[in-house]
Amino acid sequence: MSRALVFEIGAEEIPASYIQPALDQMKTLAEAFFHENRLAHGAVRVEGTPRRLALLVAGLVERQEDLNEEVQGPSAKAAFGPDGVPTQVAQGFAKGRGVDVAKLVVKATPKGDYVFAQVHKPGRLTHELLEDWLPTLPGKLAFPKSMRWAEGGPLRFARPITWLLGLFGERPLRFRIEHLECGTLTRGHRFLAPEPIELKDASEYEAKLEAAQVVLSTAKRREELKAQLQKAAQKHGTLVEDEELLGVVANLLEKPFAFAGDFDPAYLVLPKAVIVKVLREHQFAFAVEKADGGLAPVFIATTNGIEKNLGAIREGNARVIRARLEDARFFFTEDQKSTLEKRRDELKNVVWQEKLGTLHERVERLEALAAWIAERLAPEAKADAARAARLCKSDLVTLMVGEKEFTSLQGEMGGVYAALGGENQAVSRAIAEQYRPRFAGDEVPSTPAGRCVALADKIDDLVGCFGIGLVPTGSQDPYALRRKASGVVAILKAQGGALSLTELTEAAIRLYPQGRLTANPQEHMTQIRDFFRARLENALVESGFEGDLVAAVASSRSEWVSEAFLRAEALRQVMVRDDFALAVQAFSRVTNILEKAGEARPVQEALLAEGAERALWERYLAQRPVVERHCAQGAFIKAFEALASLRSSIDAFFNEVLVMAEDPAVRLNRLALLAQISRTIALIADFRKLVKRQ
């Protein structure tokens, strides 16, 4: 026999971002509890609103399964006297396990003979187990911040718990948590259905809430909210979708209702991003786009299911939005009274990082660095990149970006002000996109100039922080250096071209004044190189390459980012070929022997005595330029094929020639030959890192 279970923790309004993580924990804890206690069950569901976290279990058995287990006790020697009579030890063990001494059995184990008890535990009633366990559940949920209330604890929770509901089928679950008694009452919508609601059976839960103006399911609330928002937007254009905001708002409401309000079209002079931000940050409201891509002078806001008296609600929201747009317009107008060029001087007074100097010094470096990068990667964009870099931090001292709510528009506002100040489109876009990619998977800057500026921005930051010992450790990465290094990797990958991480790092370090970076120069370079290599490996893994392949690719030439991706892709394609394993075997024979060889020298042809070594040398000399040419062109499959054509010569060499010849000159010459080949192999990968596949 089984029944449904409902357990609801009623609370004062729980922060939106806390709800789902708490529900996930509740589910995990419940499943673990059922498992440990041998309670068969159907689907486990967790649902939450700002005022409740609920656990719903279908088909939970009424009684725990009986337990039959064999428990090991003391050794037979200790348990029985020479006469076979049970000792005190045996008596104690039997008593502790609740079995008759006469029923103990002796069994052989690898450690000798031991006494065992056959323990039979009848299963307990599920509701009793629940009444023991549920009171401990709320205290086990972890929140980003938790609090005490009333008399001051010790129980901590996201917000004060106000009621507890527990029903197992028709059976009310009885227990207390501090001053709160678990009961059979739930609450509906705070205002629309304020009376407590009595439940007679767990199965009534969701329907009764629905009747009391609460949509229990987060997914359903989100869906309803989206439909409502779209409907409200329809008349004016299309809703500017914002999945993150949608998720937040769905968890701010128990019953979603959306409506449209408007603002003075005069505010449309503001950049789109600013208006969207105002609506989002202040009112959790959505913007509406017209067919031409511009915004409609409209906002879509929500209520917690209140539909009456909508005029006053709309006017209230409109008034706040109006005030905020007015603030923004004031900043926008004031900001345009100066230029980015003039504001660049103000950066002299702004400390970027105490040990690394002012923002003004930083933009001076960035200007030089962006130009240098452009010369290497996109010579045609050099002037734009340098100009954009020169002005790229000026927006940090504008009123708009100085305002807390708009700080995240840094860069973007710079782009807007640059365009208004007459900069060309390439420059303003490069400024706007300098912080990209802002997160893993975000787009890289869309133009070559933008990529140069974004690279300069990130690498200057990285070498600076590493140079004064601000190196991320473990989970500690307060300056988001991992993200920035991953950004460098992503941009180099997208841009392609011939610029290595090592060159980039050295160029960035050169621009810092002497003595500013206090780290030991060699250690500094090594640290950054290793850091980048880890980011590259991470990026390769994220692109779907398998771990061993990533290791094979990254262990050589990891400073060449876009090439590493090409090599990985080529490897992925050739490794499924039939003769791949044989080629790898041949390459490995070459590379393995060198580990014992020490330093490589030039090959002396005169010392190549035997036919097989001469043949290999000649084959190699013929193929090397082919391999190198293909590598330089990024055609790594062809490079691999050219290299693999040496296979039979390599095999013949190892079969017929003794590398470790007695004559040291001959021996060293053979090692030199292998070292040369090995170096060419490393242009593609370290094939020894690959794991054999089926």
Partner: protein, 308 residues
């Protein structure tokens, strides 16, 4: 005299600024709060009032409500901004311990102001509060009324660096915001204060003059000296066991800091240091005050409820 009768016959607006204060005072008095008065020292928020800061410490119950003119020198806009000023009014309620139905009581207070919760969008949005100067923090919400933040609602967890037990509930109404909403106007300067006097007539010149003082005229040398003196005096008085006077100087030091901050006289790096100094004083005062109340046997604990 005619003055007297004219006072009697002035038309009364149900949602004038002063009517809101009177309604809230009556409401909370009926719920058992002692109606205190603003504390007579410049301060940034009602939390600084000893009726909140000191009384939230320790086991003794306390329920108080009062208006607090609050000064935030940096927020001055010369009386030009419609809703940003360097001085505004809070209506502060402190309930210790916070009753289990504190949110319902709060909602009743809105009803007393004529706000029907079934016809307005009232929302409790996560907003945790922290005062680095007072070493105080709490969890709670900002309360939205049709999209406008009208109240800050906080369960204190820590005050003066001391973990609280029991927990106080602090309800802080932003009176200007609330009045603006109820009067359906877009600007403080369009609000009615009461008895026929406009909010602008009452406070606009105040904003102009104090904005000039805060941003331009305040003598930073004097203020730096003030800060040092207040700090020294607070320390001396704590040593002397004169905790209430000592706390006055903590508030004064905090306000001197706020003025220096508005004058741009304190760099970003120095800021943390100054805030830390005030917090240090607040912490010492709080600890000493707790000890004092304990020595006095917690006079406000009812007999039988005294600590075990």
């Amino acid at each position: 005299m005619s003055t007297r009768s004219s006072l009697k016959t002035k038309p009364k607006s149900a949602c004038s600024f002063q009517e809101i204060i009177l309604t809230l005072q009556r409401f909370w008095a009926e719920r058992g709060c002692v109606i205190g008065q603003p504390y007579d020292i410049e301060k940034g928020a009602g939390t600084f009032n000893p009726n909140t800061f000191l009384r939230s410490l320790g086991p003794e119950p306390w329920s108080a409500a009062y208006v607090e003119p609050s000064r935030r020198p940096r927020d001055g806009r010369y009386g030009e901004n419609p809703n940003r000023t360097q001085m505004f009014h809070q209506f502060q309620v402190l309930l210790k311990p916070a009753p289990v139905d504190i949110m319902d009581i709060y909602l009743e207070s809105l009803a007393a102001l004529g706000i029907d919760a079934r016809e307005h969008d009232i929302r409790f949005l996560e907003d945790d509060w922290e005062s680095p100067t007072l070493g105080a923090s709490g969890l709670g919400w900002q309360v939205w009324l049709d999209g406008l933040e009208v109240t800050q609602f906080t369960y204190f967890q820590q005050v003066g660096g001391v973990e609280l037990k029991p927990i106080s509930g602090e309800i802080t109404y932003g009176l200007e915001r609330l009045a603006m909403y109820l009067q359906k106007v877009d600007s403080f300067w369009e609000m009615e204060y009461g008895s026929g006097v406009g909010y602008a007539e009452f406070f606009r010149e105040n904003e102009r003059q104090f904005s000039r003082y805060n941003f331009e005229a305040a003598d930073t040398a004097v203020l730096f000296k003030d800060f040092e003196n207040h700090e020294r005096e607070a320390k001396r008085l704590i040593e002397a066991g004169l905790l209430l006077p000592a706390y006055d100087f903590v508030i004064k030091a905090s306000h001197a800091f706020n003025l220096l901050d508005a004058r741009g006289a304190i760099s970003v790096t120095e800021r943390t240091g100054y805030i830390g100094r005030v917090r240090g004083l607040a912490r010492r005062t709080a600890v000493a005050y707790l000890k004092l109340r304990e020595e006095q046997g917690h006079p406000m604990l009812q007999s039988g409820e005294a600590e075990a």
